[in-house]
Amino acid sequence: MLDYTAPSTVEEAIRILAEAPGTAKVLSGGTDLLVQLRSGRTKPDLIVDIKKIPGMSDIRERDGGFVIGAATPGAVIGECEALKRVWPGVVEAANLIGSTQVQGRASLAGNLCNASPAADSVPALIAARATCVVVGANGRREVPVESIPTGPGRTSLRPDEFIVEFHLPKRPPRSADAYLRFIPRTEMDIAVVGAGVSVTLDPGGVCTDARVVLGAVAPTAILVPDAAAALIGRRLDETALAALDQAARRACKPIDDKRGTIEYRTKVAGVIARRAAAIAYERAGERR
């Protein structure tokens, strides 16, 4: 039978998870977990709610970057003006998850650990070089966001581990990011393709650093170094855009499903990557 506990410290939560006799599930916003409980897709013996632990639901500025608590709701992320100025792509990606109601609860840790290949916040976080702090019985480790999902519904976290916070690094001048997804309607759907792009420009508008990440076109979000290479050393001209499009398409390993065929997803990935890059460049140009 299901039980519930809400520890008030990280140490207590680790101990509970490590000693749990059956299956334990970590609860942050619950917008995926509660649906899975209801449908019977997951049948845990224990739910460990981390929201009573201080710091889990807020955003702090640190060393020019940001620390975002694991269970911080999307609505809180969207209201953080400082974060929006520096990492607009991460914020727009987090805010694309679900409805206004879902935004009141849904968190970055939940979106990441639910491990959907189409999770909106994940490509943007990876493009941002975000890391997450994982705690467990063996201690604390800070790992890149891309090391967490290993396949649909699967993560690299051990049963006694959970994410406590995300770190977004300090930004050089003329840097910005963007996230775009394609869905066949305007709201309340799951990405057919998503693309997160982060760039840094020199004073002449030439790209000096880039990260390009695609979602929903492989078992996990994928970092595409060839797509970044297509941007670095160039202005965003037709040559760069064509090279980016081609590199993005080459990286796709999608599935056929009701939202799109392999061929369709692959073509759209190139288009969405180009459009996201254009937005990131425009924003970077405005951030002197």
Binding site: L2, Y4, G30, S99, Q101, R105
Partner: protein, 158 residues
């Protein structure tokens, strides 16, 4: 199975209940506390019929365990009117006939109040995006939007 004791505030009144851990806030509101204004539509966070406010934030009460309400302030549709005095949003919904079967209406009204508290002067586009998580199967969206924008104007004193 042990029941959990939960202390919360509902529509301003301190409220305590006992609940099993798997029950949602919606289950307890309706079946335990007999606040049946919040409706169960989809149970998956898509329809918004169960919308309530938790600490001033709009949420689906079907996507929250009742035990998670411990220490938090809940507002439901039952707290919207003051006795027989309807909230301006409720009055405008009647004037504009912004409901047919009424099943989605409590959730829509809660969402509308949340919108106007944040943004007293929303554009039509902003309002329509805000209500993406409130489904109306009688296809009353145009009337809902007109009622909300009219109530917003009245509340601003235009």
């Amino acid at each position: 199975m042990s029941k959990h004791h939960v202390s919360t505030t509902i529509n301003g009144a301190p409220t305590e209940f006992l609940c099993e851990p798997q029950l949602t806030l919606l289950d307890v509101l309706r079946d335990e506390l007999h606040l049946t204004g919040s409706k169960e539509g989809c149970s998956s966070g898509d329809c918004g019929a169960c919308s309530v406010m938790v600490d001033g934030r709009l949420v689906c009460s079907c996507l929250m365990l009742a035990v998670e309400a411990e220490g938090h302030a809940i507002e439901t549709i039952e707290g919207m009117a003051r006795g027989h005095d309807l909230h301006p949003l409720q009055r405008k919904f009647l004037e504009h006939a912004a409901l047919q079967c009424g099943f989605c209406t409590p959730g829509v009204l809660i969402a509308a109040k949340a919108l106007l508290e944040r943004n007293p002067n929303p554009t039509e586009t902003e309002a329509r995006y805000w209500f993406a998580g409130n489904l109306c199967r009688c296809t009353g969206y145009d009337k809902i939007i007109r009622a909300v924008l009219d109530a917003a104007a009245e509340l601003r004193g235009d």
